[in-house]
Amino acid sequence: MKIAVALLVVVAGMPLLAQVNLSGEWVARQHEDQLERGPGPELGDYLGIPVNDAARLRGDSWDPSRITLPEEQCRVHLSTYIYRGPMALRVWEEKDPDSQHVIAIKNYISTYEQTRTIWMDGRPHPSKNAPHTWMGFSTGKWEGDTLTVYTTHIKTGWLRRNGLPESDRATMVEHFIRHGNYMTHVSIVTDPVYMTEPLIKSEDMEFDTSEQTAWLWPCEPVVEVIRPKGVVPSYLPGQNPFLHEFAARWGLPYEPTRGGAETTYPEYRLKLKKMVPEPPLK
C-alpha cells in the first residue's frame, strides 16, 4: 500500500510531458514524389495544386533567372515547403528549468540552416504588425500521440520552386506522427490569396543514427549576372515559352498541367482520359 501511494505521489508530481518524444535526428525518405523533391518541379507544372488564376499568372510570369539576383539567391523555402526537400531534421525540447514543462519543441532543418520554434506553452500568435519569417510563428499541442502545429506569420514565398506563389496570408496546420523509427509529417496549407482549397501533402522521415548527415547550408550572395540596376527578370503575360514543356515531356494534355482544385481529385482521371495529349518535344 505504501509503495502504491508513493508511486501515485511521484506520478502526480511529474510534469506534463509529450505523449511521444520526437527528439532526435531524422532524415527525409525520398521515395514519395521524388521528382518534385529532388530535381524539383518543372516549369509550368501546377498539376494537382488547387491554385487560382492569380497564382497561375504569377507562376507563368516567373523567370528562374530571378534567383540570380543577389537579394534573391539565399531566399529560403517556406516552412510550408521546406520539409519536402532532401533535408535532415533535428528535434529537441526546450523545458522550463523549474517545472520541467515543455515550453517549445524546436526543429533545426538543414536546408537553409533554419531553426523553427513550436511554442507549446499556450502563448497567442503575434499581432498583424509583427514581422513575418520564412518559418513563421508556430504553436503546437498534443492530440493523442500526434503533435498538431498551427503556423501563421509566414513570409511571401513560393509554394513550389517553379514560381508558384504563396502569399503572406497563408497559414498551415501540421501533424507530426511518430511510428517507432519513422515519422510522418502531414501539412495542410491554406492560402486565401492563391489557392481555392487547402493543399495537403505528406512526407516520411526515418530516425537517423548515422551521424553522417550534412547540417550546414551556407549561402553568400554574389553578382552572377551583370544587369542594369533594377532589372527583375520575368515573362510578360502569354510570352513564357516553357509552359508546354512539362505536358509534352510526360505525354499529358496541357489543360491539367494548369492545376486547380479539380485536378486534385481522383475523379479528374475520367476527364483526363478524354483529353488530347500535348505533342512530344522536338
Binding site: 504569377r58 537579394e71 515550453i103 509583427a130 514581422p131 520564412w134 550546414l216 550572395p221 552572377e224 510578360l236
Partner: protein, 376 residues
C-alpha cells in the same frame, strides 16, 4: 549556379530565435523569447500628472479656432477612441508605432525623443501618450518622410509637445540661455507644399511646417548615440520623399515608398512617379543587409503595414517592377489606357492587398500616366 556549396567552413549557425522576439501581447517571458516591455530599460515610469508644455496664448481667437477644429474632426475623434496604437520594439533604440495613420518610427535615448512621421492629427494625443509611457525626455526631432497628412498630421501637436520656445542652457557657456524649438526635418518639397494654398485648400498651420529643410545632399545628423541619414528620393510618391536610416540601430524607415498594405500611392500632381518609386525601392535594398539567409539584419519600418526586413522589400520591388514592365510593354505596343486597364496587369497581386478593382485600376492608370508623361 547559386552560391550554395556545402562546406564545413560555413557561416555560424543562426542564433536560435534571433528573429522571433515578437511574441505577441500577453506572451510569457521565456529564456529565448524577449517579450515586449512597455517601458524602455533605464527610463523612468511616467507620471500621469506630468505637466505639459503649452505655449499658445489662450486668446478668444485660439479658443474659437480650437472649437472649430473640434467640430471638424469630431468623427475622427470618435474613431480615435476605438483605435488602438500598438508599440513594437524593433532593435537598438528604435520602436514602431502602428495604428495612428502611417506607421511612426520612434528613436529614444539620453538626448531625447525623435519621431519619423507623426500620424493623423486626431491621433496625436494618443501617440504622445504612448511615447510618454516609454520616455519622459524632451521631444527633439520630427522627421517627415512625405507631406501627406497621415504622415504629418501630428506635426502641430508634436511642435506644441516639444516646445516652441523652451529656454535651455547652452553647453559650456554658464549663465547663457537660448530659445530651443523642436526641429521638424523634411525635404524642402514638403515645406513648399505644406505652406502653399493649393486648389482652394488652405496652407497647413505654420507650427506643422518643417523647420529644418534640405534640398540636395542627404541630411545627416547625430542623435541619441547614432548617425541618422535622411535620404531624399526624387519623384517617388511625391517630390519630397525621404528614407530615414538609423545606422547604429540598423533600421530604415521608408515612408510610403514601401508598405505591405497596398500598391504605391503615387501622387503625380505632388511630383511623384513610378520610376522614382522603383529607384527608391532599389535604394532601400542597397541599404539593407540581411543577417542570415535573407532574413533579419537591417529592419525596415514601412509607411503602412507590418515590421519588415529586406526580403519583404524585395518582394514589393519585384511586384512593382513586374507590373511596370507589363504596362510599359503595352504602351510600347500602342495600347490605349482603356486596353491596358482591361488587361488587368495587377491581377496576380490584387489579392495580396484586398484592393478593390477600382483601386487596382487607379494604380494602373497612374503608372500609365507616369510612363507616358516620361516619354513625351
Amino acid at each position: 549556379m547559386l552560391a550554395l556549396e556545402m562546406s564545413a567552413e560555413s557561416a555560424p549557425p543562426a542564433t536560435p530565435e534571433q528573429f522571433h522576439k515578437y511574441c505577441g501581447a500577453g506572451c510569457q517571458p521565456a529564456r529565448d523569447c524577449q517579450s515586449r516591455y512597455p517601458v524602455a530599460p533605464g527610463e523612468p515610469v511616467p507620471s500621469p500628472n506630468r505637466p505639459r508644455i503649452h505655449n499658445l496664448p489662450h486668446t478668444f481667437a485660439v479658443t474659437t479656432l480650437r472649437f472649430s477644429l473640434l467640430l471638424a474632426i469630431a468623427p475622427l475623434l470618435a474613431a480615435q477612441q476605438t483605435a488602438k496604437i500598438e508599440v513594437l520594439p524593433v532593435q537598438g533604440n528604435i520602436y514602431m508605432l502602428a495604428g495612428a495613420g502611417a506607421n511612426i518610427t520612434l528613436q529614444l535615448g539620453d538626448n531625447g525623443v525623435l519621431v519619423v512621421d507623426t500620424g493623423l492629427a486626431p491621433m496625436s494625443a494618443q501617440v504622445i501618450a504612448e511615447i510618454r509611457k516609454l520616455s519622459q525626455k524632451q521631444l527633439r526631432y520630427v522627421v517627415n518622410t512625405d507631406v501627406h497628412e497621415d504622415h504629418t498630421g501630428g506635426n502641430e501637436a508634436f511642435s506644441k509637445e516639444g516646445g516652441t520656445s523652451t529656454v535651455v542652457n547652452i553647453v559650456n557657456t554658464p549663465g547663457q540661455t537660448a530659445s530651443q524649438a523642436i526641429k521638424i526635418v523634411g525635404h524642402e518639397g514638403i515645406l513648399d507644399r505644406m505652406s502653399a494654398s493649393v486648389n482652394g485648400k488652405p496652407a497647413r498651420v505654420s507650427l506643422a511646417w518643417p523647420t529644418d529643410t534640405f534640398f540636395d545632399e542627404p541630411k545627416e545628423f547625430y542623435f541619441n548615440g547614432e548617425s541618422i541619414q535622411v535620404l531624399h528620393q526624387p519623384a517617388a510618391i511625391t517630390d519630397g520623399d525621404s528614407l530615414v536610416y538609423f545606422r547604429r540601430s540598423d533600421v530604415v524607415s521608408t515612408g510610403d515608398i514601401f508598405m505591405t498594405t497596398g500598391y504605391p500611392n503615387i501622387d503625380l500632381p505632388g511630383g511623384g512617379g513610378i520610376q522614382g518609386v522603383l529607384d527608391a525601392l532599389n535604394r532601400i535594398l542597397d541599404l539593407t543587409i540581411p543577417a542570415h539567409h535573407e532574413e533579419g539584419g537591417t529592419m525596415v519600418i514601412p509607411g503602412h503595414g507590418r515590421l519588415c526586413d529586406e526580403a519583404d522589400v524585395m518582394e514589393y520591388r519585384d511586384m512593382v517592377t513586374v507590373i511596370r514592365d507589363r504596362i510599359r510593354a503595352m504602351v510600347k505596343k500602342g495600347s490605349t489606357i482603356e486596353q491596358i486597364v482591361a488587361s488587368r496587369p495587377t491581377m496576380d497581386y490584387d489579392g495580396l492587398y484586398d484592393v478593390s478593382r477600382q483601386s487596382a485600376d487607379a494604380f494602373v492608370e497612374t503608372v500609365y500616366k507616369s510612363l507616358t508623361e516620361k516619354t513625351k
